[in-house]
């Protein structure tokens, strides 16, 4: 097994004791609650993504509390492999929780049928994937530099930015409608620009995370 694979498996093992049935019940209950409250099955996709982002911070949390980072070093797993492994695990978590969210949304659609369910679900899943991964891209370098406990507050920054973006979108709804219309006219350019931005954000994030983690002493 290569070292990235080892790092992922060790991360999974380290968070395993916290992946309890209670967590699953809370996830399903909250997802269902918001679907019922807002009468839209898409809410379950949003809820599962919030959980995936929470789970994505667990390896840092356990690492900080148990001082588990030195274990990677003792086993000869290089810092860069730990970082790559953790980004891969975050993607796996985001994708698997998206699948859970989509399944829950499909079940929710029995109560609240929608005409374009498939296309709405797919576009929502794609948007949520991009938003969630961008949150990871901001959080991870900070966690790798400072550790989870010290960076917990700063790590909330992406959610603060999302809040501002939602607020701004509400205030500028008229201009936003024009923007959406413009985007729809130039759909492919927009998708290309978004993908390019995502790749750039990923590259900058992982390069910074590797640099920061290499500099840390344990």
């Amino acid at each position: 097994m290569n070292n990235i694979g080892k790092a992922i498996k060790l991360d999974v093992l380290s968070v395993m004791p916290y992946m309890t049935v209670k967590n699953l019940v809370v996830l399903v209950a909250l997802g269902s609650f918001y679907v019922l409250l807002l009468k839209t099955p898409i809410m379950s996709v949003v809820m599962t993504q919030i959980f995936s982002l929470m789970f994505a911070t667990y390896p840092f949390m356990v690492g900080d509390q148990a001082g588990i980072d030195p274990l990677f070093k003792i086993m000869g797993i290089k810092s860069d492999d730990v970082v790559s492994g953790r980004y891969l695990l975050a993607f796996l978590l985001i994708v698997s929780m998206l699948i859970v969210g989509i399944v829950m949304a499909a079940l929710g659609s029995i109560l609240y049928p929608s005409e374009n369910l498939t296309s709405t679900l797919l576009s929502s899943a794609a948007t949520m994937f991009i938003v969630s991964s961008l949150v990871v891209f901001i959080q991870y370098p900070i966690f790798f530099k400072m550790g989870y406990l010290k960076a917990r507050t700063i790590g909330m920054m992406p959610f603060f930015l999302i809040g501002i973006a939602i607020f701004a979108a509400g205030r500028l709804s008229f201009k936003l409608q024009n923007l959406v219309a413009y985007v729809m006219q130039h759909k492919y350019i927009f998708i290309f620009a978004l993908l390019a931005f995502w790749c750039l954000a990923f590259f900058v994030s992982i390069v910074l995370a590797k640099k920061f983690y290499r500099q840390r002493d344990f």
Partner: protein
């Protein structure tokens, strides 16, 4: 003699402490005691050897630079802290080690747990310090390690546990090529098992020698405080002066014979550490 570990011009700087260009070797096939007071630089040196911290200098294991070679698989480590997730049970630990070590022997691991009376269902956080150390030792001995690096493993253990621990190290040393680096400030353990001693003080290596040579390098003198003035201050490496008596640590070769008013006392590693650098 071939060195298992070669530390060359190692430097590490912290705001309040510095390893100052230290160099020494750890002979292959022997137990080397790494001694020094708390804060002398033992753990920093060991962490450098294990690549747990960034440093300047060169560290070779079996002649290969640690920054360019994979050497961790054959190193067993017992440190002050366990580095295991607090909510792991022995079964989780076994799964994690199976992932991390290519030659992990789970039968041997569980056999050690049985020998050490460690309950497999207890979480790491529920184990006593002594049990955690034993768990780490069980890990260190279950992946065919050729080199054991032990950082203060016996501090906090009761005498019977310490004796048991020393016994296990002796058993490990029955394999001809196995090597142990044993850092401690409890020097009684080293009197029993160490072949070589490396002495570090304030981030500098004071002396690295075979154990008997190491002890023979020093002389401990006890005598009346009024005779203290007749000894050249430069020859004194440390002293403890009471109202009437005094105890001195000197370099043996600086004194041709025991000075008048003094008697030579038995040199122990413990007394060397206590007296070295002491000003009064």
């Amino acid at each position: 003699m071939m060195n298992k570990i070669e530390v060359v011009n190692l430097n590490k700087e912290y705001p309040a402490f510095q390893l100052k260009d230290i160099s020494f070797g750890i002979p292959k096939g022997y137990v080397t005691g790494f001694i020094g007071k708390n804060g002398a630089g033992k753990t920093t040196t060991i962490k450098s050897i294990l690549s747990m911290i960034n440093y300047k200098g060169t560290i070779l294991i079996d002649g290969k630079n640690t920054k360019e070679t994979k050497y961790h698989q054959e190193v067993g480590v017992v440190m002050d802290d366990s580095f295991l997730a607090k909510d792991w049970t022995a079964k989780h630990v076994n799964s994690a080690m199976k992932v991390g070590y290519d030659s992990w022997d789970e039968n041997r691991f569980f056999q050690y747990l049985g020998e050490f009376n460690i309950d497999k269902d207890l979480k790491v956080k529920e184990l006593s310090r002594g049990m955690k150390i034993k768990l780490m030792l069980a890990i260190a001995l279950s992946h065919s390690a050729k080199l054991l690096i032990l950082d203060e493993p016996t501090s906090g253990l009761d005498p019977s546990m310490r004796d048991e621990f020393v016994g296990l190290i002796s058993k490990f040393m029955k394999e001809e090529d196995n090597t142990v680096l044993f850092s401690t400030h409890i020097t009684q353990d080293l009197e029993v098992i160490a072949d070589y001693i490396v002495f570090i003080d304030s981030g500098e290596i004071v002396l690295a020698k075979e154990k008997d040579e190491f002890k023979n390098y020093f002389m401990i003198l006890k005598g009346d405080a009024e005779y203290l003035e007749q000894i050249d201050e430069a020859a004194i490496l440390g002293k403890k002066v009471g109202s009437h008596s005094c105890e001195l640590l000197v370099k043996r070769e600086t004194l041709p014979s025991v000075p008048e008013g003094f008697v030579e006392d038995v040199v122990t590693i413990d007394r060397i550490m206590v007296l070295f650098g002491k000003a009064a």
